[in-house]
C-alpha cells in the first residue's frame, strides 16, 4: 500500500513534499513534489504543478508536470499543462492539452 493516500472526499491545499509514493483520489491544490511515484486516480482533481520520478494520471490534472522517469496518461485522464519527461504514454481516451518536452 502506498505510504501516502489522499482519499476521496478530501481536499488538501498547500505544498506537499514527499520522499515516498503518493496516491491522490481526492483533491489537491497547490504544489506536489515527490521523489517517488505519483498516481492520480480516476475521479481525483489536481490543480497543482507536479514533480515526481514517475506519474500516472487517471483523473484530472491542471498544471505543469515534470517527471524524471515517465508520465502515463490512462484512459479517461484529463491533463491541461506542459509535460516534461523522458518517456510519455498517452492511452486511447485520454485528453491532453499542452506541450511535451522529452529532451530530459
Amino acid at each position: 500500500m502506498a505510504s501516502t493516500v489522499i482519499s476521496h472526499g478530501f481536499t488538501i491545499e498547500g505544498e506537499l513534499t514527499a520522499d515516498d509514493d503518493v496516491v491522490i483520489e481526492g483533491t489537491l491544490r497547490g504544489k506536489l513534489v515527490s521523489k517517488d511515484t505519483v498516481k492520480v486516480e480516476t475521479g481525483a482533481v489536481v490543480e497543482a504543478d507536479i514533480t515526481a520520478s514517475s506519474l500516472s494520471v487517471g483523473g484530472q490534472v491542471t498544471g505543469n508536470v515534470t517527471a524524471t522517469d515517465r508520465v502515463d496518461l490512462m484512459p479517461g485522464a484529463r491533463l491541461i499543462g506542459d509535460v516534461k519527461a523522458s518517456r510519455l504514454t498517452i492511452a486511447d481516451g485520454a485528453s491532453f492539452k499542452g506541450n511535451v518536452d522529452m529532451d530530459v
Partner: protein, 177 residues
C-alpha cells in the same frame, strides 16, 4: 481503507487538509486539519496545526489545539503543546501535555465559546500580575533612589542663599570693580 487518507512518513505538507473520512498522519504537517472522521497522529509524526475532528488519537508530537467532538486520546509517547477540547479526553501514562484541557463540551460551539472566554481571560490575568509587580517595583525603587539625592542636592543651596547677608552682593560688586 479506501476512505482513509494517509500522510506517510516521508511527507512534508504545508497547507490544509479538509475532508469527511479518516486521516492518519505519520509525517510532518504544518497547517490546519479539519476532518469529519477520526484523526490518528502516529509515532514519529510532527504536526504544527490546529486539528479539528470527531475523534483524535495522538501518539506523536503536536503543536496546536486539538478539538475532538467525541473525544481526544493521548497515548503513550504523545507530546502535545496546545489546548485539548472534547466530550471525553483521555491521557495515557507516558503522554506529555502542556496546555489547557476542557472536557464535556460535546463539540457545541456556544458552550465551548462561553467556557473558553473566561479561560482565555484568566490566562492573561495570571500572567500580568507576575510581570506587573516586577515593573512596579522597578519603577517604585528607581524614582525613589533618584528622588532622595535630588532632595539632598536641592536642600543645601537653600540655606546657602540666606547665608549671603544684605551687603554681601554689594561687597562682591565693589571687589569686582
Amino acid at each position: 481503507m479506501a476512505d482513509v487518507t494517509v500522510i506517510g512518513q516521508g511527507i512534508f505538507l504545508r497547507g490544509s487538509i479538509k475532508g469527511d473520512g479518516d486521516v492518519e498522519i505519520r509525517g510532518r504537517v504544518e497547517g490546519d486539519v479539519e476532518v469529519g472522521g477520526e484523526v490518528t497522529i502516529g509515532e514519529g509524526a510532527l504536526v504544527k496545526a490546529d486539528v479539528t475532528a470527531r475523534r483524535i488519537t495522538v501518539r506523536g508530537a503536536v503543536a496546536g489545539n486539538l478539538t475532538g467532538e467525541d473525544g481526544v486520546r493521548l497515548e503513550e509517547g504523545a507530546r502535545v503543546v496546545g489546548d485539548l477540547r472534547g466530550a471525553g479526553i483521555g491521557i495515557a501514562e507516558g503522554a506529555l501535555l502542556r496546555g489547557n484541557v476542557q472536557t464535556g463540551t460535546g463539540g457545541e460551539g456556544q458552550r465551548t465559546r462561553a467556557r473558553q472566554q473566561p479561560a482565555q481571560a484568566r490566562t492573561p490575568v495570571r500572567v500580568e500580575p507576575r510581570k506587573a509587580p516586577a515593573v512596579v517595583v522597578a519603577k517604585a525603587t528607581s524614582p525613589g533612589r533618584k528622588a532622595q539625592p535630588a532632595e539632598e542636592r536641592a536642600a543645601p543651596p537653600l540655606p546657602v542663599i540666606p547665608v549671603l547677608k544684605k551687603g554681601a552682593r554689594a561687597a562682591l560688586r565693589k571687589r569686582s570693580r
